[in-house]
């Protein structure tokens, strides 16, 4: 086995995840009462498992096209990626509690700090937060007042 394939353990790992998803789907379909409900997901899950097995076979034989090297992540900022994802998840979870406007402001500020690479000059220190407040406030007014979307008000305040 070549060194490259020894390193590429991602392919069997991902295949195993897809097989597991397919197995869970097939198990879930056993609880459905109507054949119309389970025919489609069961067929698709079976096909997906078969494809995952085929992928592993391809990997074993060495025909698999090389996967992207996940190691490239290390050259970029992992903490910033996690911070962005965490900020968005936190915004989704806090929305019912803090209300849309409050959550939007906090999420905007957190993501702005995450995406900031330039030095904080006095100009940026003033303009960026003001721009953020205008953007969030403007969209809030557009959706809540003009488009009449019932945005969450929050239960904490």
């Amino acid at each position: 086995m070549s060194e490259k394939r020894i390193r590429d353990i991602s392919t069997p790992f991902m295949a195993a995840i897809f097989v597991a998803i397919g197995a869970v789907v097939i198990w879930d379909t056993t609880t459905y009462t109507d054949a119309d409900s389970y025919v489609f997901p069961r067929t698709i899950a079976t096909v997906m498992i078969a494809l995952a097995i085929l992928l592993v076979l391809q990997w074993l034989i060495g025909w698999s096209p090389s996967a992207k090297d996940p190691g490239i992540v290390g050259a970029q900022s992992v903490p910033r990626r996690l911070a962005l994802f965490g900020s968005m998840i936190a915004a989704a979870l806090l929305m019912p509690l803090l209300g849309f406007l409050g959550t939007g402001m906090i999420a905007f500020a957190a993501i702005m700090l995450t995406a900031m690479y330039d030095p904080w000059t006095p100009y940026r220190f003033i303009v960026y937060p003001v721009a953020g407040a205008v953007i969030v406030g403007g969209f809030y007014l557009l959706f809540a007042r003009v488009l009449q979307v019932p945005l969450p008000e929050g239960t904490w305040f």
Binding site: T11, M14, V25, D28, Y32, T33, D34, D36, S37, Y38, V39, F40, P41, I44, A45, V47, M48, L51, L54, L55, Q58, P65, A67, K68, P70, Q76, S77, R80, R81, A83, L84, F85, M88, I89, A92, L93, M95, F100, G104, A107, F108, A109, I111, M112, T114, A115, Y117, D118, R124, Y128, A131, G132, I135, F139, Y140, F143, Q148, V149, L151, P152
Partner: protein
């Protein structure tokens, strides 16, 4: 003479202003991820209740056509389709923008949208009653095969990883079956969670799968979002016009595909764009450029999705069956107005219908200057905004856009989680597009499959049901050509080369 009167009525100052305002409003709303053309029409429909029916139709048609085009902006500039119709625009539009040709891509999209819109309106004007019968010829099995045809595009999007792309497509199909089953109402794949009972909302899923990974990658480096040319090239209209002229057959073919798919109730702009993209790629000489920034890809999608506007109005006005979701809203508004749609509409209320069709032509033509001006502004804004403001703005738009679809915070959480999953899968060679294709086409495929299966089983003719109907056979032939055509051509070409040697 009557045609001239209707044309003049459509050109009245009020109707002109309504068409202009509708196109501007539609374009702006359509460019915001999460706000679909259906929403744009639905939100603005109450304004039309006090208008004359023809004026109301012109305004709604203009909003609709503008919104379908507007979806291209965010698809090209931030890899997030503003509306589902613009999904396939991301395939080549975003790579073009990343290569510094975002301005060209937007202008190409604008020209293609205008051409598509005009072709759709032309079919509506000339051939509406006979074409409406096409919609009636499509049964469940034809819808099933049409969805499979859309899924065959996965092969084109596989980027050398066909098995992974097919696995992604399967994952999308499974995601589409979460929630209450449409045919039998069983609760599927929710694992006891109330959050998942409503299923995964398609638009929020595609916002997550397309946009969140881009944001995650944007914050990871200090690099600029899009490559910017050293000197401003303006809207590059002449260049775009020359490319459009070279791709005139692609534009026309895609526009006709868009019109035909638009006629089919429930199919919509996303399927039209995908089918047209697939055909453009299949017939192109530079197939390897597709997915890397081929202008033909943008042209095909944008002309097809705008052609669905005119196409969708055909069954709506002739049969009273809405061709696309926004048509359903417009149909409702017409009923409020007291206009009785149906085969007699073109004779009994011809002045309303033909004034509207001319108004649709007008709105589509107005889309050219409006689209180019807004497009240039959108492009220059996106490249000028510092990353520290662009990323939170786009992230905030995804949050508010997703929430507003069903007023659900659960949808927002699902959108972000799907985005995270999409990013991880992307790292391992599973691209988002096959998953999205499966998600969008899943319900159409399942519904068509189950209904056709039930009818076939009841009549004891399953094989005949799936493989014995002429339209089905034509679509199956197209699927086979789409899947295996490029490989066969390549093999034949290789054989010829070896023979020459």
């Amino acid at each position: 003479m009557a045609a001239l009167e209707n044309l003049l009525a459509a050109m009245s100052p009020l109707n002109f202003l309504l068409a202009l305002g509708g196109v501007i409003a539609g374009t702006v709303i359509g460019s915001l991820p999460g706000l679909t053309a259906t929403m744009a029409v639905a939100v603005l429909v109450p304004i039309t209740f006090s208008m004359e029916p023809a004026s109301a139709l012109i305004l709604m048609g203009a909003i609709y056509t503008g919104a379908i085009y507007g979806g291209a902006y965010s698809a090209i500039l931030i890899n997030t389709p503003g509306t589902p119709s613009a999904i396939a625009t991301t395939f080549d539009g975003y790579p073009m923008a990343k290569n510094g040709d975002g301005d060209l891509a937007i202008t190409l999209a604008c020209i293609a949208s205008v051409v598509g819109g005009l072709v759709g309106a032309f079919f509506l004007l000339i051939l509406a009653p006979p074409l409406a019968s096409v919609a009636l010829a499509f049964g469940p099995v034809e819808y099933f095969w049409l969805a499979i045809f859309g899924l065959s595009l996965i092969a084109a999007l596989s980027e050398g990883h066909l098995i992974k792309a097919l696995m992604g497509g399967c994952l999308g199909l499974l995601l589409s079956s979460i929630g209450v089953a449409e045919v039998s109402a069983d609760i599927r794949l929710t694992f006891g969670s109330q959050v998942l009972v409503g299923g995964i909302e398609t638009v929020s899923a595609l916002i997550g799968l397309y946009c969140v990974p881009v944001l995650i990658d944007l914050v990871a480096t200090p690099d600029k979002h899009l490559k910017v040319a050293s000197e401003s090239k303006g809207i590059r209209f002449k260049e775009a016009l020359a490319i459009s002229w070279r791709g005139k057959f692609n534009l026309l073919r895609s526009s006709v595909i868009g019109t035909m798919v638009g006629i089919l109730p429930g199919a919509g702009g996303s399927i039209a764009g995908l089918v047209a993209y697939s055909e453009a790629r299949r017939t192109a000489k530079n197939q390897d450029q597709f997915g890397k920034g081929a202008p033909e890809g943008v042209q095909a999608t944008e002309s097809a999705n705008n052609a669905t506007v005119g196409g969708g109005f055909i069954p709506t006005l002739v049969l009273g069956i809405p061709g696309t979701p926004p048509d359903a809203v417009i149909l409702g508004a017409l009923l409020v107005q007291g206009v009785k749609v149906g085969p007699n509409l073109f004779t009994s209320e011809s002045s309303i219908v033909y004034t509207f069709i001319w108004g649709l032509f007008l709105a589509t033509i107005l889309m050219l200057p409006v689209g180019l001006i807004i497009g240039r502004y959108a492009y220059s804004s996106i490249i000028a905004i510092p990353k520290a403001l662009l990323v939170p703005t786009v992230a905030f738009m995804t949050l508010i856009g997703t929430y507003s679809i069903r007023n659900s915070t659960s949808d927002v959480a699902i959108m972000v989680i799907l985005g995270g999953i999409g990013w991880v899968l992307g790292r391992f060679g599973f691209s988002a597009s096959p998953i999205v294709l499966g998600l969008i086409l899943g319900s159409i495929a399942e519904q068509g499959f189950v209904q056709a299966w039930t009818i076939g089983a009841a009549t004891e003719n399953l094989t005949g049901m799936f493989f014995g109907r002429p339209i089905s056979l034509a679509i199956i032939a197209m699927i086979v050509i789409s899947l295996f055509g490029p490989t066969l051509v390549r093999l034949l070409g290789r054989g010829e080369k070896e023979a020459t040697k």
